[in-house]
Amino acid sequence: MGTATGIIKALNSGIKHLAVKRFTLRYPEQKLKLVGDGYQFDPSTGVGIAGYKGRHMLFHDHCTGCQLCSIACEGVAEAIAMVKVQEDWKQNKKAIMPQIDYGKCVFCGLCVDACPFYALYMTNDYELSSFTKEGLIYTPAQLQVKPNIAQDVELKFDNPRGATHG
């Protein structure tokens, strides 16, 4: 008797799930929408702004070459190196800017917390895989580019047929 009810229960559960919609996010075609434009930090209040911690974005017109991000990273992963750039900015006399090695970066965002001049933010870009280690090193010029990714799919779970993406 126990066996029979067990089989019926199992069949019932299986049949119920025939009607449930597919949960899979079809990744290369669909991309998940993340909160905001990435993690940012407001040094005046000392509190961050919620967002995804992805690849960094560097604003060349704010960066003063103060090396605070590099010092913050020394205790974490030593991913940030300060390199010379061929640009002339009034606020950046030494003309040095951070260059980030994503082979080392752990995406903790403590460098963003360390920046007092609103120059370093994080973005929603996470597609960084590469064939070589050198391809993971991002120069200041590469970090300046705002990522343009069509991220528009959200997780929906309020319909009766289970959670889906769409």
């Binding site: 899979t24 996010l25 991309k31 994503y102 082979g103 752990v106 996470y126 597609e127 064939f131 280690k133």
Partner: protein
């Protein structure tokens, strides 16, 4: 005409030439077919080296489902596997075991370094028991950065590996 060309003296040469032509005509499509079948059936080894295995598990779960790309969930024995996903930190105790696993796998085999620790040592650059990256012990094909990488980044890395296999020589 053909009879004139094909004399007993140069029969060997003729057959050899014909073989060359045949190989050229068949080899490229055949190689493509072999590579095609390889890239859609990658079998990763079930070896968890460190904490990135959490996101590797998530990638084979229902939401990201790497089986869409022919990458089977890591279940099989390593004698039938052709992909090592090094899931994070390699410590000095683990390194000989990882190499042992790699040596036991049949050719061809591919390596994905997943996570900052597997690429350069990452967070543990000054630890006394962690290798600074796996380049010293395994030939890496694709680097997937992140700590840990999102499953999307891992899938992107797998797609890069498939691109690479497509362009490799089949034999």
């Amino acid at each position: 005409m053909l009879k004139d060309l094909l004399t007993p003296q140069n029969a060997n040469v003729f057959v050899g030439k014909l073989g060359d032509v045949l190989v050229k005509a068949v080899d490229q499509p055949l190689g493509y077919a072999i590579n095609w079948s390889r890239l859609w059936s990658l079998w990763p080894v079930h070896i968890e080296t460190a904490c990135c295995s959490v996101e590797f598990g998530a990638a084979s779960g229902p939401r990201y489902d790497v089986e869409r790309f022919g990458i089977i969930e890591a279940f099989g024995s390593l004698r039938q596997c052709d992909l090592v996903v090094v899931q994070g930190t390699i410590t000095r105790k683990m390194a000989p075991r990882l190499r042992l696993v790699y040596d036991q796998m049949p050719e061809p085999k591919y390596v994905i370094a997943m996570g900052a620790c597997a690429i350069t040592g990452g967070l543990y650059f000054d630890s006394y028991n962690v290798l600074p990256g796996i380049d010293g012990i395994l030939p890496v094909d694709v680097y997937v950065p992140g700590c840990p990488p999102r499953p999307e980044t891992l899938i992107q890395g797998c797609m890069l590996l498939q691109e690479k296999i497509k362009r490799l020589k089949a034999r």
